[in-house]
Amino acid sequence: MTTVALDDELVGAVVEQVWESLLGAVARPWAGPQPAGATVPTVRAQVRLSGDWNGLVRLTCDPATAETLAAAMLMSGPDEALPEEDVLDAVGEVVNVVGGNVKGALVGRTSLGLPQVALAARAALAALPALPAVADDAARSLAVPTSRCVLDWHGAPVVVEVLGDDAPDVPDGRQQPDSSSQQAKTRQEKRKP
């Protein structure tokens, strides 16, 4: 049995295909300064892989970028303002497709969870209760990504990361989104067509 390296090359190849067919765009690497930790406010979508490989695939960007990503995916016109729920759902589907294709490239049996999407704003959303699913994600943001790929989406960074559960923790210095101020949506809450 051969093992497949879960590296930047593999994740890059997956992202390239997802960008081309789902977003109708070329996955251009981000040339600006590396985004340090998460920007605030931030949209974060993640999907969990569990089985022979355990970890998360997640996508982070700012809310305006999430809106234009969703608009590209849904081919919505410039006059159509997408409701926040649709924007988060679309970003969740992007990470779902990236996650599924990363999983497909791995050897062994691994299953894919349902995507979770959170919109976090340190100040503006501080009143909202924390949800356990996202608190878990906040803890994960301390982990060193197994693979990290930063794309340029119309001048803003979109971070796609794969984080293995066994990745070592970073001692200090990394920002993380404030888990007390997050609004999370999982697919269970919005099933009505």
């Binding site: 497949v4 593999l10 190849a13 997956v14 067919s21 765009a25 070329v26 490239a105």
Partner: protein, 274 residues
């Protein structure tokens, strides 16, 4: 930079004419990103300048490169389905009745990234009348780069989504990281080699089926005529020639006759020209 609408229209028409693949509106990003490296190579400042140069003077080599750059991920397996259905239901069984040697040879004369010869190989492997036969597929192309891709036999997720039935995918491909790889049986059935249709053909033996689809359009009338004449010389007398769905030998080389094959049609050398 964004591609100018008239440049996009020109490229889209070119690709449709030369490959019969249609790039929908909305594929501007694709044209821009795939042609940027070619534009740089050609010393043009951007894609718009590159397209202007292409429009002002016909350059067959560059045209082919443009078409190839734009048809990656757009090339379908079993393209135009009918010829493959005809091979399986009619032509392969007909040939099988007249080949006591239990051997068949097929030539894909413009194989590009390999979808066509591998589709022929899968068709042959899945034709009951050919069980236990030796089917040899020779696949040629002018472009060494696409030949290398074809020979590697690995395709992206997007590529295997194009026209490949799921049952066929699981039978003839395995996962290989982010890609899919053809099975050894499929790889063994196809031999790739570079070949320029304009020059005299190298010694390749005789073929029972030749696929020369969507490639004659690149050439002027005398060259088309010459290629068809030389194809006649390497086709067995009861062999079949496939052209693209919109192509005809009529008025080019009248030694051929069009015969129906399933829902498709195919060319055979006329009795008096054999």
């Amino acid at each position: 930079m964004t591609i100018a609408p008239e440049a996009f229209t020109f490229v889209r028409d070119l690709v449709r004419r030369e490959s019969a693949i249609v790039l929908d509106t909305g594929k501007e990003y694709l044209v821009e990103s795939r042609l940027t490296p070619l534009a740089r190579q050609a010393g043009q400042v951007d894609v718009n300048a590159f397209v202007s140069a292409l429009r002002s003077r016909y350059n067959p080599v560059l045209t082919r490169q443009v078409v190839e750059a734009l048809t990656t991920n757009e090339t379908s397996w079993f393209r135009d389905g009918d010829p493959f259905a005809a091979l399986r239901s009619d032509l392969f069984p007909a040939l099988a009745r007249n080949r006591p040697s239990r051997q068949l040879r097929v030539w894909c004369a413009a194989c590009s990234s390999g979808q066509e010869p591998y589709s022929v190989a899968m068709t042959a492997l899945d034709t009951p009348a050919l069980t236990g036969w030796k089917v040899e597929i020779v696949a040629t192309d002018l472009n060494e780069e696409v030949l290398a891709r074809a020979r590697a036999g690995t395709y992206s997720q997007l590529e295997v989504n194009r026209g490949l039935p799921a049952t066929t995918l699981v039978r003839h491909f395995t996962r290989d990281g982010a890609h899919w790889r053809i099975t050894p049986a499929l790889a063994a059935a196809v031999t790739f080699r570079p070949l320029n249709l304009v020059r005299p053909f190298p010694a390749m033996g005789t073929f029972d089926v030749v696929l020369l689809r969507n490639v004659l359009i690149y050439f002027d009338l005398p060259t088309k005529r010459d290629i068809l004449r030389r194809v006649r010389q390497v086709l067995s007398p009861d062999g079949y020639l496939f052209l693209g769905a919109a192509e005809m030998t009529m008025g080019v080389d009248d030694s051929w006759e069009r015969v129906p094959a399933g829902r498709s049609s195919v060319y055979q050398v006329r009795g008096d020209a054999r």
